[in-house]
C-alpha cells in the first residue's frame, strides 16, 4: 500500500468514526445539529479523499471523459439536491427525504448493474460467489428501494392516493415477484452468467418496490420510508462488497442497522408493529387530522415523558393548566419545580387558573402560592384565554372538564355553556392524567382526541417528577 493509499484509508476510517459519532449525537435535540454537521464533515473528507485517490491513478488511468462524467454528475445531482433541500416547504419534508433515499438506493443498484455488465461481458466468464452474492443482493435491494421510495414520496405528495391501494390479486403478484427474483438470483448464484436473467432480477425488484408500498396507507409512510432507508443502507453495504470498499461497507451497515432500530422506534411510537404496517391496509389516519372542534374521531395519542419534556424545553410560551388532580396528588411543588426549570431555559411560563380549579374557587392560587409560584404568573381565565393561541404548549395537569371544548361547541353536552379554558387553541397540548376515566361531569373530553394532544398517563405528582427529570436530561 502506497503512502497516499494509507492516508486515504485513514481518512475513510475517520469519516466512518464521524458517521457513528454524528448519528449518536442526533439522539438529543441539544447536540443533533452538531451531530449532523460532524457527519457531513466526515462525508466531505471521504469524497475529497476519493477524488485524490482517483487523480493519483490508483483505480485505473483516468481519462478526461471520466472527469467530465464525475464533475457533471456532482454538479447536476448536488445542485438539484441543494436547491430542493433549501426551497422545500417544511411540510413537504418527508417526501423529499424519500426522494433522496430513492436516488441513494438507485445509485447502489446502478453500481451492481454496471459491475455485472462488465463481468458478464467477458467471454467464458465465471463470477465467483463472493462477487455474485453481493451483486445480486445489491441490485435486488437497491431496485426495491428505488421504486418503493418513489411511490412513498408520491403518496406523501398526494400524487398517488394516500389510501391503501389494494388491487385484486396484488398480494399474489407481490409474492410472485419475490419468487421470480429469488429463483433468478439462485440461477446466477449456482454459477451461471446471464445478463438477461440479471435483467429479470432488476425488473422484479423494481416492480416489487411498487407493489410493496402501494397497499400501505399514507399515514404510515414515515415508517415505510425509514424502513426503505434501512434497505438502502444495506444495498450500499453490498455495493461496498462488490467494489471491495470498506467505507461503503461501514457506512452502509451502520445505516442499515440504525435505520432498522429507528423504524422499530417509529412504529412503537404509533403503537403498531412494523409487520402490521407492512401488511398494510390500515393507517389512513390522515383524514382525522384537522377536526379540532369536531366530534370524537381519531384515537388518543399517548406521549412519553421524554417527548413531552422536549416539547416543553424547546417552547417559547408554555401555559400550565392545573386542576383538581394536581391538588389531590399534592403535586404543586412538582409543578413549580418544572416551571422553574423551564424558565431557567428561557421559556415563558404562565399558569391558567380556572375559577373552579381545585376544590373551591381560588384554591389553586393558594396551593400554588404555597409552593412559592410567583403570583404574577397566575392568570385568571379571562386574562389567559386570548393567550392560548400564542402558546407553544399547554400542559394540563389533572384538569378535565374545565378544558373540554364541548362546553363551547356542543349544545347537546351537559356542560354546554360552562366557561372553559381555551386549551385546544394552543399549538400543542400535553395532558397528564391517570387514565381515560371521564372527569367530574362524567363525559368524554374531546380535547383528548384532538390530534394536537399528547396524553401522558401518570399520577400528577409522578408525571411531573418524570417531566422534571426528563427536562433536566434534555
Amino acid at each position: 500500500m502506497s503512502t497516499l493509499d494509507t492516508v486515504i484509508q485513514l481518512i475513510y476510517l475517520a469519516a466512518a468514526a464521524c458517521f457513528v459519532l454524528g448519528l449518536h449525537q442526533m439522539n438529543s435535540p441539544a447536540t443533533a445539529r452538531n451531530g449532523n454537521r460532524l457527519s457531513a464533515v466526515g462525508m466531505a473528507a471521504a469524497i475529497a479523499g476519493t477524488v485524490v485517490l482517483i487523480a493519483s491513478g490508483t483505480y485505473s488511468d483516468v481519462n478526461t471523459s471520466a472527469w467530465i462524467i464525475i464533475a457533471a454528475g456532482l454538479v447536476v445531482g448536488g445542485g438539484l439536491g441543494f436547491y430542493t433541500a433549501r426551497t422545500v416547504q417544511m411540510t413537504a419534508m418527508p417526501q423529499l427525504v424519500s426522494i433522496f433515499n430513492a436516488v441513494g438506493g438507485g445509485a447502489a443498484a446502478l453500481i451492481a448493474i454496471d459491475d455485472y455488465i462488465r463481468l458478464s461481458g467477458v467471454v467464458g466468464a465465471s463470477i465467483p460467489l463472493e462477487v455474485s452474492i453481493p451483486t445480486v443482493l445489491d441490485v435486488i435491494i437497491g431496485s426495491i428501494t428505488f421504486t418503493g421510495s418513489v411511490i412513498a414520496a408520491g403518496k406523501l405528495q398526494g400524487l398517488i392516493g394516500g389510501q391503501p391501494i389494494i388491487l385484486p390479486g396484488s398480494r399474489i403478484l407481490t409474492a410472485a415477484l419475490a419468487v421470480v427474483a429469488v429463483v433468478a438470483a439462485l440461477f446466477l448464484l449456482v454459477g451461471n452468467v446471464s445478463l438477461p436473467v440479471f435483467g429479470v432480477i432488476l425488473l422484479a425488484g423494481l416492480l416489487f418496490g411498487v407493489t410493496m408500498v402501494l397497499p400501505i396507507g399514507g399515514a404510515d409512510m414515515p415508517v415505510v420510508i425509514s424502513l426503505l432507508n434501512s434497505f438502502t443502507g444495506t444495498a450500499v453495504a453490498m455495493a461496498g462488497f462488490v467494489l471491495s470498499d470498506p467505507v461503503l461497507i461501514i457506512a452502509g451497515a451502520l445505516v442499515g442497522a440504525s435505520g432498522a432500530i429507528l423504524t422499530k422506534l417509529m412504529a412503537d411510537a404509533m403503537n403498531r408493529s412494523v409487520l402490521n404496517i407492512m401488511i398494510g391496509g390500515f393507517g389512513t389516519g390522515d383524514a382525522a387530522v384537522g377536526a379540532s372542534t369536531g366530534g370524537p374521531g381519531g384515537a388518543v395519542r399517548e406521549i412519553g415523558a421524554d417527548d413531552a419534556a422536549i416539547q416543553l424545553a424547546y417552547a417559547q410560551h408554555v401555559i400550565i393548566v392545573p386542576g383538581y388532580g394536581l391538588a389531590v396528588a399534592q403535586a404543586q411543588h412538582g409543578v413549580r419545580e418544572l416551571a422553574e426549570l423551564l424558565e431557567a431555559r428561557g421559556v415563558d411560563v404562565k399558569y391558567a387558573i380556572h375559577p373552579v380549579a381545585g376544590r373551591m374557587p381560588g384554591h389553586m392560587n393558594v396551593l400554588l402560592a404555597e409552593a412559592n409560584v410567583p403570583y404574577p404568573q397566575l392568570k385568571e381565565m379571562d386574562e389567559i384565554n386570548p393567550e392560548f393561541e400564542r402558546a407553544d404548549v399547554a400542559l394540563v395537569v389533572g384538569a378535565n372538564d374545565v378544558t373540554n371544548p364541548a362546553a363551547r361547541s356542543n349544545t347537546a353536552s351537559p356542560i354546554y355553556g360552562m366557561p372553559i379554558l381555551d386549551v385546544d387553541k394552543a399549538h400543542s397540548i400535553i395532558v397528564i392524567k391517570r387514565s381515560m376515566r371521564p372527569g367530574y361531569a362524567g363525559i368524554d373530553n374531546e380535547l383528548y382526541l384532538n390530534p394536537k394532544t399528547g396524553m401522558l398517563f401518570a399520577d400528577a405528582k409522578d408525571g411531573l417528577a418524570q417531566l422534571v427529570a426528563a427536562v433536566k436530561a434534555v
Binding site: 469519516a15 458517521f19 457513528v20 454524528g22 442526533m26 439522539n27 435535540p29 445539529r33 451531530g35 449532523n36 462525508m43 469524497i47 482517483i54 471520466a66 462524467i69 457533471a72 454528475g73 445531482g77 448536488g78 438539484l80 439536491g81 433541500a85 433549501r86 422545500v88 417544511m90 419534508m93 418527508p94 423529499l96 426522494i99 433522496f100 433515499n101 436516488v103 441513494g104 438507485g106 446502478l110 453500481i111 454496471d114 414515515p222 443502507g233 453495504a237 455495493a239 462488497f241 462488490v242 470498506p246 461503503l248 461497507i249 457506512a251 451497515a253 451502520l254 445505516v255 442497522a257 440504525s258 435505520g259 429507528l262 417509529m266 406521549i303 421524554d306 419534556a309 431555559r345 428561557g346
Partner: protein, 108 residues
C-alpha cells in the same frame, strides 16, 4: 474465503452491531431528522459511483456511472442540507423565524 473478504465481513458485522447500539432512546420529535440524517450517510455510495465512473470504458457504462454519480450527489448534498434545516427548528430560543423557512413552517 480470501483474507480480504474475511476482513470485509468482519467490518460489516461489527458496523451492524455499532448501528444497533448507536441509536438508543430517541424522542419521537427527533425521529424524522434522525431518519434524514441516516439517509444522508448512505450517500457515501457516491464514493463507489465515482469509482465506477473512472473504470467506465463504453458509452453504456458512461451513462450508468453518470446517473449513479448524479443520484448519489443528490442524496449526499440534499440529505445533509435538509437535515440541517430540520434541526435548525430545535434551537433553544428562536428569536425570529429563519429567513429561508416558509411562513407556515412546522408541521402545518
Amino acid at each position: 474465503m480470501s483474507p480480504e473478504l474475511l476482513s470485509a465481513l468482519t467490518i460489516f458485522v461489527l458496523a451492524i452491531l455499532v448501528g444497533f447500539e448507536v441509536i438508543s432512546k430517541v424522542p419521537a420529535t427527533l425521529h424524522t431528522p434522525l431518519m434524514s440524517g441516516a439517509n444522508s450517510i448512505h450517500g457515501i455510495v457516491l464514493v463507489g459511483a465515482m469509482v465506477i465512473a473512472v473504470e467506465a470504458t463504453d458509452p453504456l457504462s458512461h451513462l450508468l456511472s453518470f446517473v449513479a454519480v448524479a443520484f448519489a450527489s443528490m442524496n449526499v448534498v440534499g440529505g445533509y442540507v435538509v437535515t440541517d434545516r430540520m434541526l435548525q427548528m430545535f434551537r433553544k430560543r428562536p428569536t425570529a423565524p429563519p429567513p429561508d423557512a416558509p411562513a407556515d413552517g412546522g408541521k402545518g
